[in-house]
Structure formats: structure tokens, C-alpha cells
């Protein structure tokens, strides 16, 4: 146990008894006045080290400030579609947001391609990859920023991007056939919106969501706010993003192949002007759908067109943090006496119960929104579509596993350990035991 830890077992015992937001504001106000409140005095400070280090899947820099290491999409591999079919607009710019000359947009470029992704040594799979990566790059802006995302679809499938948990104009919400037509192969769709509310958000494809989101089409979207009460209350110096996913690689492979085959045919039908609503399975109204049924239309759910075993349930066999399965997951680094923030995003279809050994942590936000009061726990449940932010204080040097306590997800193809497991590792310690790489217990 660290001798720098505050009195008592828990480094912070006061905040849970108080209104978290009020505490944050009080701390901010007091700090501004050069005063120290009782609560502030009880909060350990992180060791000096400058600004918070953001540790997440590669950051996507705005186009206005190009950073070749992060900004440039990876070179496409394999077959790509660079332009849409004749007669289909190359660029779609829906209304519903201010024009470029009305506000100053931060512009980001996302493209989509099919890439071979290595989950861990010896396991590779075809995935739908934003900018060639799984998960997609992280977008990080300030609350209130105006954001423009130029999304180019280089695959033969159709897609959208949904901004999960963000209050965007409905025409930018990225739901196919509800708020927009899907982005066609070779087409570019421009999303514009103001980044709000602040918090841990994410983006994902909303077309064929079961397949596309699982196949890699997701990434973190972090909206920060100035004078963040969480940071003021818990002065963290490292800010981690962990995206949790579950994969049925066999479903992904078979269904991607099946959809690619169907889309190749549909693109031919588009060229011939023969792609009708019934073949697409999209109708203008429910009455149109009923009329089609009366005239002999067979909905796809009645003809069992699922690929492979024709199954409706998935058999998840790989589980990942930021696109990697243990032992390829990256350690979370911490120093003694340091606060760190961990943003958990569940971009998969299963619940995860993230448990940290040797520490109590505070849950400070859920669904990206600050909690009224932090909750002290050592296991946090993250449901599909949910995000949870926790802060951890470095008061117990060593190596501590941080993993899904539904241990079926701590496996690689059924072999334990694997999957959603990483290590909280203290920097600069010389303990009597250091972690090894274990593949089969």
C-alpha cells in the first residue's frame, strides 16, 4: 500500500456523501479564488506531470490541423469502390445544420474499407474498418464545437454513421431509411452537428447494425467541457478509452460474404434500373409493404437467407478491448498517487462486468453524463450501447487485472485466459513478481 495514500482505506471518502456536481463547482470556485475547501484538501493530487495524457485508439485530428500519423486513412487494401454508380450523387450534404460559412467547423475525414484485422497473434479476420482500423479512430472535441465529418464509403456495402448519445439534428442521426438514405458504395456523406452534450460518446454504423457494428464499425467520440467537474474533483492525469466488443467471427465471415454477394448483384440491378423496393426490402409506407405481400412478395425473414448455419443466434468466440484480445490488449499504466480516468464503451452485443483487482474506483459518469454523485465500486456493469466512466487512484502498487467478470468473455475461442482482460500496471515498481503471458489455464 502506498505511503502517499490519504488516510483511511479509500482515498476519497467524502465525495459520495455530497452532491457530486455541487462539489465540483465548489472546488472550481474555491480554486479560482485561491482557497482550499475541506473536500479539496481531502482529495489527493496527482503527481505533477503536465497535461492529461489521452490514451485511446488513434486520435483523429481535424483536417485543419493535419497530423499524418493519425489523420491520414490507412491505404486501402483489396477491392475498393472510389465512385458511386452513374446517376448517384457522389456527395450527399443533407440540410439541418448550419452552412460552412455560418459556423467554424472542425472537419474530420472517415473512410470505410474492408481490412484484415489481427485480433491477436494467429487470429485474423476481415473487418469493416474506419480509416483501416478496428476500432475506428477516436474523435475528441470540446462541447459546443461544430463538427463536420466527411464519410466516404469505399466498400460495396451500404452504411451510415450514428452518433450515439449525441443530440444532433435528426437528419444527421445516421439511421437508414428513418433519417437518411444509406451511404451508397463509393459515395460520400457529410455529417454536420454541434458536439453536445459533453461526455463519453461513440459512433457506429446503423445499417445492418448487427453485422456492421460487430464487424468493426465503431469508434469513440469524446466531448470534453471546460472546467470538467470530474477532473476537478478527481485530478486525473491519464485518460483512457476502452471499447469493449464481442465477435462471432464465423457469423461475420459468412454474413459479410453473403451480403457482398447480394450487393454485387444489387449494384448490377441499379445499373440496369431494375432495383425495385421489393428486392431492396424497403417500402415507402407500411401499406405499400402490405400490398406487396398480397401480390406475392416474400419477406426475407420468411425465406431464411442467413448465411452459414442459418442461425438466428450468435456464438461469440472472441472478445476485445480496443480491437485486441488478451494477451494483445494494452496495459493501463498508472503511477503511485496518480488518478486516472477510464472511459468504458460497450460497442458490442453482450453485457460486460468490468472488475478491477486491488482497488476501489468511482463510477463518475454513465451514458456519458456525469452522475450526481460518484459511486464507489470495484465492478461496473456496462450494457450494450452504454458507456461508463470510472476514476482510479493509484494507491496499491503492483499489477492488477482488470477484466470482464463474466469470465466466458475472458476467453479466446473458448480458451481461458483471453478476451477482455488487461492489467493495471504501476510504473516504476520493482515488485517480486511480474506478469507473464498466459495462454491456457
Amino acid at each position: 500500500m502506498s505511503d502517499k495514500a490519504p488516510e483511511g482505506h479509500h482515498p476519497v471518502s467524502e465525495p459520495p456523501r455530497r452532491t457530486f456536481l455541487k462539489t465540483g463547482l465548489a472546488v472550481a470556485g474555491a480554486a479560482a479564488a485561491g482557497l482550499a475547501t475541506k473536500a479539496e484538501a481531502a482529495i489527493p493530487k496527482s503527481p505533477p506531470g503536465g497535461e492529461t495524457r489521452f490514451v485511446a485508439p488513434p486520435l483523429l485530428s481535424p483536417s485543419a490541423a493535419p497530423d499524418p500519423g493519425h489523420q491520414t486513412p490507412l491505404p486501402a487494401q483489396g477491392r475498393t469502390i472510389e465512385a458511386p454508380l452513374h446517376g448517384i450523387p457522389a456527395v450527399v450534404e443533407p440540410t439541418g445544420a448550419p452552412r460552412d460559412d455560418q459556423v467554424a467547423y472542425k472537419t474530420f475525414d472517415l473512410d470505410l474499407q474492408i481490412a484484415r484485422h489481427t485480433l491477436l497473434p494467429g487470429v485474423e479476420a476481415h473487418m469493416l474498418a474506419f480509416n483501416g482500423r478496428v476500432p475506428g479512430p477516436t474523435i475528441r472535441v470540446m462541447e459546443g464545437d461544430w463538427v463536420k465529418v466527411r464519410f466516404k464509403n469505399r466498400t460495396e456495402l451500404m452504411h451510415t454513421i450514428h452518433w450515439h448519445g449525441m443530440d444532433v439534428p435528426y437528419t444527421m442521426d445516421g439511421v437508414p431509411w428513418v433519417t437518411q438514405d444509406p451511404v451508397r458504395p463509393g459515395q460520400t456523406f457529410i455529417y454536420r452537428f454541434q458536439a453536445r452534450p459533453a461526455g463519453t460518446r461513440f459512433y457506429h454504423c446503423h445499417f445492418g447494425t448487427l453485422l456492421h457494428m460487430q464487424s468493426g464499425m465503431h469508434g469513440a467520440f469524446i466531448i470534453e467541457k471546460p472546467n470538467d467537474p470530474i477532473r476537478q474533483r478527481f485530478p486525473y492525469t491519464r485518460d483512457y478509452v476502452l471499447i469493449l466488443t464481442s465477435w462471432d467471427l464465423n457469423f461475420i465471415r459468412e454474413e459479410l460474404n453473403a451480403m457482398l454477394r447480394r450487393m454485387k448483384e444489387r449494384m448490377l440491378l441499379m445499373e440496369l434500373g431494375k432495383l425495385d423496393p421489393q428486392t431492396m426490402g424497403v417500402f415507402r409506407t407500411y401499406e405499400d409493404f402490405q400490398r406487396a405481400l398480397e401480390s406475392g412478395y416474400m419477406p426475407p425473414y420468411t425465406t431464411q437467407r442467413l448465411a452459414g448455419e442459418g442461425r438466428a443466434t450468435l456464438n461469440f468466440n472472441f472478445f476485445a478491448i480496443n480491437g485486441k484480445c488478451y494477451p494483445s490488449t494494452e496495459n493501463l499504466l498508472i503511477r503511485e498517487g496518480e488518478w486516472i480516468r477510464i472511459r468504458l464503451i460497450n460497442a458490442g452485443q453482450l453485457e460486460h462486468y468490468m472488475h478491477l483487482h486491488g482497488h476501489q474506483f468511482f463510477i463518475v459518469a454513465e451514458d456519458g453524463n456525469d452522475l450526481p454523485e460518484p459511486i464507489e465500486q470495484n465492478t461496473v456493469r456496462v450494457s450494450p450501447g452504454k458507456t461508463a466512466d470510472i476514476v482510479v487512484y493509484g494507491n496499491n502498487p503492483g499489477y492488477w487485472t482488470f477484466h470482464d467478470h463474466d469470465t466466458r468473455r475472458v476467453t479466446n475461442n473458448g480458451i481461458y485466459p483471453g478476451g477482455i482482460l488487461t492489467v493495471l500496471a504501476y510504473e516504476g515498481i520493482d515488485g517480486p513478481y511480474a506478469p507473464k503471458v498466459a495462454l491456457d489455464e
Binding site: 487494401q77 483489396g78 477491392r79 474492408i114 481490412a115 484484415r116 485474423e124 479476420a125 476481415h126 467471427l249 464465423n250 465471415r253 459468412e254 459479410l256 460474404n257 457482398l260 454477394r261 447480394r262 454485387k264 448483384e265 444489387r266 448490377l268 440491378l269 440496369l272 431494375k274 421489393q278 428486392t279 426490402g281 412478395y297 416474400m298 425465406t303 431464411q304 452459414g308 448455419e309 442459418g310
Partner: protein
Amino acid sequence: MRRWAFLILGALAAPVLASPASARDVGADVVPRITIGGRLISTLNATWLQGDGRDDDDLYDVSIADTSILTRFDRRLFDRSVGGAVVGLEFPDPDADFTDSVFYHRVFAFLWDRGYQVELGRTKLRNFLVEFPTLRDDDLLRFTEILNGFSNSNTEEYHQFGNHLALDLFWPQRFLQVTGYLAQRIETDPAGEMKEEFDLNSGGLFLQRTVPGPLKFSSRLRQLGVGWDAQKVDVDGDTWKHAFVAGGVVNLTMDPLDHWEAVAQVIYDTGAGDRDLTTDQGRALAESVAVAAAVNYRHSTFQVLRWKAALTAAYKDYRDEDAAEWSVVPTFQYRLGDGMGLLAQYQYTRRSGDLATAVGFDQEHTVQIGLSFDFETTFNDYIGERQSILNMEHGYVR
């Protein structure tokens, strides 16, 4: 025959079926991918033969010939290639020379990876380049496949199936395929009974450009190839019989809903000496040229195939004889549902010259109406297929 088939079957099945009783190696209980497929085809046939006193020779029967079931078991190997076994059985034609009613038509082991495929065992021989859209794959056997010069039986399975060691190499672009094989074609005695023993007796080499099914609309030219087959027949001083084949498939339209395709193939067989056409073996050993062509139409609604129709025509000329035959076959298949089809086919065959005399009739009409049920289902599919779209267009994943 049965003993021979069971020996092969047993040898291949033993590692799969007997492993629980044997010492367990590491990974011995990893469940393989299991694929089960099959087709039941049942038709009501009516045949009229005409010529030389055969005018009244009408035949009516219900045929389940070519009904088959196949099972495939395969696994990823240590080097991430794939290995496995196929076991299948077929119901042969009623006039086949089998003492029982089931023929183990496919019993082989295989290996494949991105650039190659190896088969060892009994399976369908590489007797042809393209498949024709008739109801059964042997409806035009004499026109569409290289015949077995070792068989004096009217059992068509003896022409189609045999034991072989085949190696397919796929070029990096993977549409180009080279096939080499050594085959043990089934040999019979003059009475048509299968011999107790026979050796590797033939071989061949094929070269073709072929587009896999999932990418069938990626180019007009779906398939084009040439091949050479040699059989060491050793009859009457003639050691070898050679056959040369060329053929291809073309998409006439690039419309997935109303799709037309053309299929054509020619086989030139050198034969082995001057043969008597009165026997099955004599016709297989005669010098001949066979040409077959078909136009195939497939109609789909909502990307689901509903019906298809085809017209196939074939002609064969026996070069050293005053003998020829030709056949025209319109075929219609209507899908009642997934895997269930209503079938109809008419086949008219005309023989001339010595062939008509040898066979005993010069015209043959066959009408077939029936039903088919086919299926294929895969369990524990953790492998995928070598020629999937993802593997072909987006980098091969092992």
C-alpha cells in the same frame, strides 16, 4: 466391388470414427466442420425407341438415379491449411451392373490452402471442363465427358467416377487453375464385370481460367479452358487413348434477375484402333468428336431463383465409322421453395449409320417429369471457403 469400396471407406473413416477409442492426441477432440448435402431426384420417365423393329418398344419407369448424399468433414491444420474427408453415396441408374443399389461415389481425403488443392481417393473424375444444365449429370454423358476406355459396362458411374490423385494449383490472381491428375479408372472384363485388381491407368492435365460462383458477374467470360487426358488402354497393340477437351461458359447478360448464359465444350478423342461400335467399350475406344452447347436462362425475383430453363444440343461423330448421333434436350425446373423443385425434361436422340445398327434403334424419345429436393447445411463452420469473396478480393485470411 463392395469389398473394395468398404476398404476405402473404412480407411478414411477410421481416424474420424475410431479416435475416441484410441489414444487421444492433443486436439483430437476438436470438432471438425461438418457439411451434409444431398439431392433426391425422382422422375417419372417415359421412353420410346424407334428403329429396326423397335417401334413398339416403350418403357415407363420411376427413376431415383443420381440421388446422392455427401458428407464432408474438415479442419484447420497446424499450418492453417485445411484438410478433411468426403464420403458420399449415390443411387445409380437401374440398368447399372451393381449387385446392390448404392454406389459409394465419393470417398476421398483432401488438403487445400490458398494456392493449391489435393484430392486422393474416389471421386468424380476430371472428364470434362464445363457442366451442362440437364436434370442429371449423365443425361448426355457420351457427349459431355471423356469416356472410360477400360469399361465394357453400361454402368455410367464407371465412366464418371474413379480413384485419383489430383493436384490443382491456383495462380496468385486465382482465376487461373492448373490441374494434374493420375487416375485409376474402373476396369471391367469383357462381360462388364469389374476386375478384382487394376493399376493407375490414366492421367491428364487441364488448364483453365474459371471465375468462382460468388463472383460470377465479375466478367462476361466465366470459364475457358483446355485439357488433355491419356488412358493406357493396351488393347490390340494400341497402348494409349488420348482425349483433348476445350470449353467455356459466357454470361450472355449481366442481369442477376433475368440471366442468360451460354455453355459449350468440344472433346476430340483419338480412340485406340478401329473399334466395333456394338459394345460399350468399343464406343468408348472409337475415335470421335463430341460437341455440346447449351443456353441456360435463370429467372429470379427478389434475388431468389424461381425457375430456370435450358436448351442443350449435342453431336458426336465417330470418325472411322459411318456413325454419328445427336441429341436435343430442353429442360425446365421450377422452384417450389428453397431446395424443392418441379422438373421436366424431354430428350430426343438420333443415331445414324453403323451406330443405329449396332444399338438397334435410331431414335429415342425420353420424357421425364418429377421432383427434386436438395440441401446443404454446415455445422461448426470455422473455416470458410477458399474462394469466398472476402478471400478473393480482400486478401486471404488463414
